[in-house]
Assembly symmetry: C2
Homo-oligomer: 135 residues x 2
């Protein structure tokens, strides 16, 4: 198989030996975008249904307009999000998931579900850590 695999340590050793740069690692290429601060939240909303720019702004009051624009642009660039402009006055812009976005989100969703089911445990771990000498 000629597909680049995930970076197991054996693979990483091989990549180094071949002088490959790790920027070409597919997982990093994809996951680093999706894990950005606001992408998960916006993806969840778009997975629910298409939304307009101003809806997203209202739904997520603590995101700046600049970050909405930028995050949506990044997601559009990677092919997950479709941006469609309706020529109303003033123009309205609707964002929705592409087929690829839906496909990706099916896999991403499992982590979200884990997070919902386990966030108390994560919180507890944080508090324990902070209360210990390490914190």
């Amino acid at each position: 198989m000629d597909q680049i695999s995930s970076p197991t340590s054996a693979r990483l050793r091989a990549m180094q030996a071949e002088g490959m740069n790790l920027d070409s690692c597919p997982v990093r290429t994809v996951v680093s975008r999706l894990g950005s601060k606001w992408a998960p939240l916006l993806l969840q909303l778009l997975a629910e249904r298409p939304h307009r720019f101003s809806e997203l702004r209202r739904l997520v009051p603590d995101i700046s307009q600049r970050m909405i624009t930028q995050t949506l642009r990044d997601l559009e660039r990677d092919g997950y999000v479709n941006r469609s402009v309706l020529p109303t006055k003033p123009p309205s812009v609707t964002y929705s998931l592409t087929d690829m976005g839906v496909s990706m989100f099916e896999s991403y969703r499992l982590l979200f579900e884990w997070a919902e089911a386990n966030h108390q445990a994560v919180r507890a771990a944080r508090e324990a850590f902070d209360a210990s000498d390490k914190g």
Copy 2:
């Protein structure tokens, strides 16, 4: 069900109405850490087997020591990673996944697999976007 659900737009509206702050959203709490720049890569390596600090450094040559330390600390704080110091001279430190880390990674892994299978499509989308007037 009294569990805080994922932030559907209905839920977000409710949270706003109640004056809740969104920092308490479980998905954001959990996913934002896991999506940081280096966490996915280090988690993959630790999911494979426990590693020592210097092993990780060698396997990922383009991460600074500072970022290894910090990312591992964050993952330890959240309860995914165990740090064990052996009193050798010089001391050796081994990092491994906790049970919770293994549990979480089972869900995260699906996104990684999606990324491996679809990174060409993502790359293609990026190039198309950059070649268009939007880029």
